[in-house]
Amino acid sequence: MKNLRLIAFLDLKESIRAKWFLVYSLVFGGLIALFFIAGVTESQVMGFSGLSRLLLMYIQITIIILPIFILITTVRSISGDRDSHVLEYMLSFPISLKEYYWGKVIGRFITVYLPVIFAMIIAIIYGAFKGAEIPWAIFFLYTGLLFALSSAFLGIAFFISSFVKSSEVALGIAFFIWIFLLAFIDIALISLMMQQRFNEDLIIGIALMNPMEIFRVAAISLFDPELTVMGPVAFYILDTISQTLFVLLSIVYPVIVGLIFSFLGFKIFAKKDLV
């Protein structure tokens, strides 16, 4: 246990010093600052106003950039150490593979999750200071959703990192997974739907297996289902499943996906040659 804490702590410290972490924090913090400067909280479009509108815009952008940031920065975690012979040296000390792997997972999770949450907290504090009404329900939902999305992609990234030997290949796979989940799967499902080869329940079921899709729908689930901005699929889902159940599913499912991939990654890491 002390080794697990040590590895998580050292990985966290090492990541915080890295340049990517600075860029990562600046992107999310900068987004919030940009929204305030642009006067997003003072505007009202399609029924959204104040901090709700700001948080909604923040989460819509986060859907796109958070997964790729997590994948690119994490996928090299183990494969990079293997590449540079750091793993060979660090594992020459009496540390179990379990402690090493899960310590890295915990350390990296804190690193990727904290900046996105801090950016939202800053928005809430600044909004309160400006006298805006605070949408607590949305804030807590987004905190949970970001936790779930971070878990899912961190698990996928560690899974890739555990079997790939070079970090270039790891980056290539990470990019492919991101673009596939972000766009290709939707395009494929839409074309299937248009051809009416499968019924819509099956297609929407497949779409919801994508953690990015479930995040996207859950992020707008607290708003009025009649809003046109939701789109037909989100409307269909929220009309079919109760809102509470869907919110619960959208948090629990990605966490389970993340845990399954992390666990598979560990199994591969422990079964394969280490260097």
């Binding site: 002390k2 080794n3 040590l6 050292l10 410290k13 090492e14 010093r17 890295a18 540079s84 012979h85 750091v86 060979e88 040296y89 660090m90 594992l91 020459s92 000390f93 009496p94 540390i95 179990s96 593979l97 079964k271 394969k272 040659d273 280490l274 260097v275």
Partner: protein, 212 residues
């Protein structure tokens, strides 16, 4: 203390270790030699439990280094040929070793001092930002401070200047008692005074094993 029995390790179609059997006992100070690709590093990595063998077995103090890696590695110290680009600061690296290998910080500082390495002024510096010689000195200091029964040095003096080499030899003098010292080297003359056994490998096999 180390028993390698019919060990075979393949990487794709390349046979890196071909049915190797060898024993390293207490009081052995071995120079492990051979051309590039002879299988020296693969043998060491198998002893450290990094590789899953395709055939045969490795036992360290009667234990499997893969299944019982923590217990086995408590008794092994390792100095790699090239210091890896560890991004931790020296302070953090020492903390890692203090906790994982239960080595006292003072002991590491003592050996670093003996290697004429000024740790205190560089303590917050990243390990990878040190010069090649400084990194190697620190890794040697760490290995010696572990007081392990088995110490494996992979070309330990490659980055050291003549003075640092002398310090290294002086510190190792008398360390071979009741231990296994394993030096991977291309130049026998560098460790000749420290070893009592020479092992040559070629094409994944042990081709000669002589006591001096």
């Amino acid at each position: 203390m180390i028993e390698v029995k019919n060990l075979t390790k393949k990487f794709g179609s390349t046979v890196s270790l071909d049915d190797v059997s060898i024993k390293f006992n207490r009081d052995d100070a071995i120079a492990l030699m051979g051309a590039n690709g002879a299988g020296k590093t693969t043998l060491i990595r198998s002893i450290l439990g990094y590789y899953h063998p395709d055939g045969g077995s490795v036992l360290v103090r009667g234990l499997d280094p893969i299944r019982e890696r923590q217990e086995v590695l408590k008794h092994i110290a390792f100095v790699p040929q090239l210091p890896p680009p560890i991004k931790l600061s020296i302070d953090e690296l020492i903390q890692y070793i203090e906790v994982s290998a239960e080595v006292k910080r003072e002991t590491i500082l003592h050996y670093a001092n003996e290697m004429k390495l000024d740790i205190e002024t560089n303590i917050k510096k990243s390990f990878f930002k040190l010069s090649g010689g400084m990194k190697q000195k620190l890794l040697i200091a760490i290995a010696l401070s572990q007081e392990s029964e088995i110490i494996i040095f992979d070309e330990p003096t490659a980055n050291l200047d003549p003075k640092a080499r002398d310090d290294f030899y002086r510190l190792l003098d008398g360390k071979g008692e009741d231990r296994v010292l394993l030096f991977v080297t291309h130049r026998l003359e560098e460790v000749e005074s420290l070893v009592n056994r020479e092992v040559y490998m070629d094409l994944g096999r042990v081709v000669s094993d002589e006591r001096i």
